[in-house]
Symmetry: C5
Subunit: 304 residues, 5 copies
């Protein structure tokens, strides 16, 4: 689902995966910055060795100490972002099994020939997932939604919060069924808690989407990293000469790459390469719910 | 919501974000301390190199070892603070979806024309959130509250715990509706658990607000850091001369900055730049709950 | 609540908090040990430089490596202790909102004039919290308890587990009310789960109180630290002379301080400076519950 | 269950476990890569010392710093994978006790002579576990399943999601029993929540199976590691001569081994040596459920 | 409960705890290995300095880097083990409060004079805990169990899973009481969930007991450590001479000790010094449950 490359664990040479050159996104994004840093290192190098000979050569442990502390900070920052990515993955998983459970229960609770309600719920559940996906990407894609009732999608752009709109529709229909005696109070209780869980998923996804890591934390890390890169060439010149440009660029790439990856994965609901397969999850959920609630073939099996 | 800058990930040069000079709050707060530290380094430097030549030059691994251990401590301290910030964010999210669920259920349970109860609950839910916000900021802002019943806000300054006061009002109204048979026992059960969750949110927010990191932990960290800075210049003088002032100030800034950020984000309910958007969350909740419970346009959609 | 000093974040100079000399508890506790270590360093120094010249001078990376590994171990150990402290804080918070919820519900369920039951529950809830506090401090303070029924406190010293005794009283009273039809089965269900939560809090607090970190872990850490301090002076003598005593004492203080803080905060229910404000929490809970259940003024507000 | 070797803690010599040479899977998988790295080190060595004498000798702290940061990254990566492995283990445990609880309850709820339903549920529960196991290994093993009803397994290859198919069967049968009055509504409520838990387990296992660590994270780590190994020999040549090949291979093995182990354990549902004993768990569950629901001997004990 | 020594925090000298020589279990277990390592260091030393002078002297940063990475790995490994130990402690705590809650509820639900059922449940709850303890130690101790019904313990050796056997007995008795109308459906619901929780505790304990850390992780760590110790003496000889033996043994002890402690505490249900006080917990539970359900003196208090 995410990447078949990573699963190819039988390759006899460990580092063969590195030579898929089309997969160097992080590299591309950092290219300009890396060239600037390389140019800076060259200038420092040139001035220092050819023109004036400043007495600025911090002892090695300054680099060692600052570099390791910085590295630990970056590892923690990346892991914080990874935690959000993983929580996002868990939430999408919960979205799926929560609505599948609703479908399983409705299939058991509703009469087999109540096609109206079955179709209604199948449509609304799919609508809820699709609209959540687009609301996290700041929009609505009307063509992904199903008109569960006539006119339902007409005024969609006036709705403040579209996923809640569909949840409210499902909630009201549950209540109607309960009042009309189609479902008992135990069944109603069972169904209600799934609405709560769906709301929790929606809110939690929005929380991850709207709350990046605290600004002062992120900016301090960037400043620290920047200052570290600024003083880096001074320590290498006397040992390495112009080779120092290479080493400075390598260290820059290794460390800033972690920061960039942290930014990429901390909001996992977009459409980047590392983002979660939200479209596929919605599609699969829609298919499953339709199979359970509507398609006769499946019902035959299940009821057999 | 938090900061559009951080989201601007398409910038071609990674470090361009650093040159927004108006965003250097941490720097400003540490300026005086940094100047003092710089002055101290200068004095040590001057005395050492110009006047008396003390034989105090700790070997480099002392700095390396202490610096790395200190760095790890600081990273952990910052992450502990971040955990509280993130838990605070989760709690506000829970506050929101919890009350929205109550509104969804009440909308389904109450008769469409029971405007009295609908208005009452919409007002009380908003009151609960706003009063929680201000109680975490040590006060009450009466103009943010709605008078759900005549005289309700008159004696507010005599109430020991204002959010509990509104929760009690909601709880009693649920019980009345139950006793009068407006809602069934299953519906009552459904509603009751949301009161519990609201109480949990209130208590947890108060816990984060009133419990900073254990004092001896925080103070030991500060002492360690201070002692480290005190012996720092002695290791650089012979290598760096007066350049050492710069390096000492950089290390001081990098490390103490982490401590300061930890303090800033461990209580996330204030009004600092890094604090959570509590006002916006309250406003959005009030709007949503009003739409669900009162406004006819939304009800039309939902009931359509 | 914990310490106003820590909250004073507006101070212009970061390290001003360090000069509150009356707050150096950790320092005091370690004073004798530090002096012994200093004396040891002096003796090693003296023998080495004045009398015999042993060829024992481990290379610097031995210190660097051992020191950093030791530091990481100590940071983890401190954080393990901090986790218990924080879990303890959460439990006390849960104790509070759990009983407050019970009070809110009883206020809604019981007739307004049923002063007998209201007083009984208000007293029993307070008794439960206070007796938990003292049972974690290995005792009972009879004067903190209220006699909810005549003779209830007479044989308290024969009771094996006092908080359970009060919980059993509350549990039985709930069941009586249910059997007499004062509360419905839904209400009974609502109340019962709070008894479970209270039991969980009691057991979890006892777990934290009686289970320090595994002995072999703690003792290995101490041995490692001790061995490290023993070989520490040999690495400094040739570089530092008698200044080495100062550095050895500093490193000893920085590292052992972490171990001592870990021990201090891992059992947070005592009466040390870093322990949780259990007395204040009990007092506040008693006040809140009384306001909700008994005092007419509050009932007036709530029922208004 | 996993490995008796690891449990043999009474061995007098700690490292005796290392000499079970048949257990060197990681070594084997990395052999080719290690030889390539060794050859590379030899070439660098030869060119450098025999032919041209490049002035490329990065100072030692570059290696130290990069190596430690890399090590920390690898440790975190391994622990992330371990967390998935452990979560997978918890899920299988939950699968087991969830279905055992269903069996215990059905045994209590169903009449002792209702062999039809008892057999049906015993078969379906076993089917659910076995089909989950194979669906995580991308297939179905029909011979492991029991035909709970005639024709049930005939069209298995047309079913989109086999574990859901069996869960739906169980769910429907619960509902039938409830409608026919065999079980009360409380009993039905009790049973329903176990269906939810089973769905959660299925979805969570699928989540772990289909979501490896974000690609950019994994690939950055590999690139960093690769670059580090590339520059590694240059630092050793002058100190070590051809011995450097050995050290380079050792460092490569130690670090890449962590990456490889991370990949091995992050999807724990396969049939590798480190994977979870899923087959044994299914077998044990089937046996337990059969004993509880069907076998007269056990029922005799339990009913005695 | 665990160790009074650790609690003795008032001792004026921090390291006095180290001189309880009877408490050096880890030391004893590692003695043979340490002597072997010492002998190895001596042999390397002797050959190197007296006979042939190999040019194998890895630069210091190799040791520093490998040592720190190894140390971090070991710290993580120990903490993983500690997490299991602590989870085990939580589970035993949950076992206790779960059954105590059952006892509290049964005491409220059952008529005061229903000695038969009271004795039955008190016996079965104790049996469940004791049999869980022994099943985690691979056996049954019949003399610890009570014969709640005649013949109940006769065929114990034919039972596949003894704790489940007792849980099934309790579960069936609950159901009988419910069918006979002794307890209402709400009370039955309350009791049922405790059976689920008991099953969860049993399964979770078994999970911890049967799943050590993944084999490839553990073995890689051991290999890494072993290789590190093998090359360790070469770095010291020139600096330290025969003193190097001491340092090698110290580093070996410090690092391997962490691995050994990890193995000791990752399965906390045995009878080692570091294992959990399972016997005491069972005894205390039995006593509490008996007091609540049977002994007249306690009932008098509680019913007073």
């Amino acid at each position: 689902m995410n990447d078949p490359k990573l699963k190819n664990r039988e390759k006899s040479v460990w580092f063969s995966v590195l030579f898929d050159f089309h997969r160097t996104k992080t590299l591309k994004r950092l290219l300009v910055s890396m060239l600037l840093v390389g140019a800076y290192a060259f200038v420092v190098d040139y001035i220092e060795s050819e023109m004036l000979h400043i007495d600025f050569r911090p002892p090695s442990y300054v680099y060692s100490m600052l570099g390791i502390v910085l590295g630990i900070l970056l590892v923690f920052r990346t892991n914080t972002a990874y935690d959000r990515w993983w929580e996002g993955r868990k939430l999408l998983s919960k979205l799926g099994y929560n609505w599948k459970n609703v479908a399983l229960k409705l299939n058991a609770f509703l009469p087999a020939n109540d096609q109206e309600n079955r179709k209604y719920f199948a449509a609304m559940i799919a609508n809820h997932s699709y609209s959540l996906k687009e609301s996290l990407r700041n929009g609505v894609k009307k063509h992904e939604l199903v008109e569960a009732e006539p006119g339902m999608l007409d005024n969609l752009d006036k709705i403040y919060h579209v996923p809640n709109y569909f949840a409210a529709g499902i909630c009201n229909r549950f209540n109607e069924l309960y009042k009309r005696g189609v479902i008992t109070d135990m069944q109603f209780l069972e169904l209600s808690k799934h609405i709560d869980d769906a709301s929790e998923v929606v809110s939690s996804c929005e929380r991850i989407h709207t709350s990046p890591i605290p600004f002062s934390y992120a900016i301090h890390l960037k400043k620290f990293l920047f200052a570290f890169v600024l003083i880096l060439p001074f320590g290498f010149i006397h040992d390495l000469g112009y080779w120092c440009i290479l080493i400075v660029m390598l260290i820059f790439y290794a460390m800033v790459g972690l920061d960039v990856i942290g930014e990429e994965i901390e909001d996992p609901f977009g459409q980047d390469e590392n983002d979660l397969p939200f479209d596929a999850i919605c599609k699969s959920l829609k298919k499953s719910v339709n199979e359970i609630l509507i398609q006769p073939t499946v019902n035959e099996f299940v009821k057999a």
